[in-house]
Amino acid sequence: MIEIGLSHYMVLSAVLFSIGLYGVLSRRNAVGVLMSVELLLNSVNIALIAIGRYVGGAGATGQVFALFVITVAAAEASVALALLIAIYRDRGAVDVESATALQG
């Protein structure tokens, strides 16, 4: 039986972060890009809570930090969706490849 420790959580967090980064770079639908950004933040949350649990002397700092990250992610998502609605009304699509009004 393998003991699950800090390093396992850190690897999980790093893998999730990489998946999120791949999603940001490869998704064509802007909603998909935003979901990938959420994945990035949640991978950080896993690392934070694991550190809070396993690293001595940190107290509840890791957990509190994670709560702040969740709050910030929620606020960011609401602004993002508002912007997407504005874009959808203008173009009828939220495809990132159609975002070509600003170039040069």
Partner: protein, 486 residues
Amino acid sequence: MDLLALRELLPELILIATGLVVILVDLVTNDKRVLPIVSAVGVLLSIVFTVTGLSALLRSPFVVEVYSVPGAVSADALAYMFRLLLSASTLAVIGASSDYVQRRLIGARGEFYALLLFAAAAMMILTAATELITAYVALETSGIALYALSGFLRDRRSSEAGIKFLVLGGVSSAFLLYGMVILFGLTGTTSYAGIAPALHAAFRENALPISLAVVLIVAGFGFKLAAFPFQMWVPDVYEGAPTPVTMFLSVVSKAAGFGVALRIFHLALGAPPVALEWTYIFAALAALTMTLGNLAALRQHNIKRLMGYSSVAQAGYLMAALAVPNDTGTAAVTFFLISYAVTNLAAFAAIIALTEGLASEAISDLAGAAQRSPFLAFCFTIALLSLTGIPPTAGFFAKLTVFGVAVNQGLLWLVLVGVVNSVISAYYYMAIVKAMYVGSAKDERTIPAGLALTTVLVCTTALTVLLGIAPDAVVSAASTAAAWLP
């Protein structure tokens, strides 16, 4: 927690309260012209408290006692100096934008000023933060307000600027956050002062994760400071956002980014073995950033987009001073930011008047602007001379200070790159001057400029010249303040 400690956050609390008052006033009044006045009064009140605090701190010869919100926000002279820079710049942005907002942002004027004030308050907390959680939350609070502001016109270009800014800003924050979390995991603390000695002790056995954290934090800040290779959002957002928001981004947001970078890099990551890693990265990025910014600016036709690349180039000069991890570097960054702020505020006040008056953002359409509005063109020319770095303007002294500390640090090659870049930048800055003075106007009428905008333009232009002729007082204040950062 001691409630009295909150009085150290009074300048920020006043701004937040003013933002809420502006929203309420917007609901009950039909005359929206009162909104910028309410906002300006709030910011002025905040400035009064900041100046009182700063002058007391600068008079005391030693770091006697720093009151602060325990473990979260510092109240040292450098924090007050940045607060003053940020709130005074916000006041200038409010003054220069009042006519633009009245005409272009119908139905959302109260929210515009409120978001501007919230962003400014968050940035003031950001530059004074002494630990990672406060810094992260303040950074994101200002960021989210700025994403919304960038998309405020709700047309095609503005919404696109908003969403591009949000996605890239979100990803960069995630990088920064991941770096912060690794630091937290290695040291068990989020306070800058606690991280530095813990990293110093752990450097031998944990060199790899520390390097990873440094690289992630540099990448995260690279986006915020508009450094190469993370500068791609800058021209798009500067072009698409409403012009007053571009003004705010290029001055206030940039100052806040460098303010927090100073604390994190010079304080938390400032201990010798760790500092060696990022100083070389920053020196290299500084050279690449200024070169790319200046070369890309050469082929721009849109004035806002050109100012975007100009802002990237100026970030390069600033990073050259950031790469000097001692108090001379901190003082040089602070002085450069102050002169850059007055210069760019003057430039953008002129740009708002010109682009609105001419209904065009193309540089070629500036032809004959000097005949129509000689004073506007004159002030804009002074600002452009200062951005190039020609005496007797603030920009000249700022560049001299930055290059001076870089040479003392042994970065002579970087200074040579910087000087060559200044020559390149003269070409596109002077092309704007040429466009304004050579060529005749199709229309003879004076370009309209409101009273508030003209006041901002006169004050910032005067300060630009004043800082170029007599910079001593500000230079010594900056070095006194920088000495407070251990």
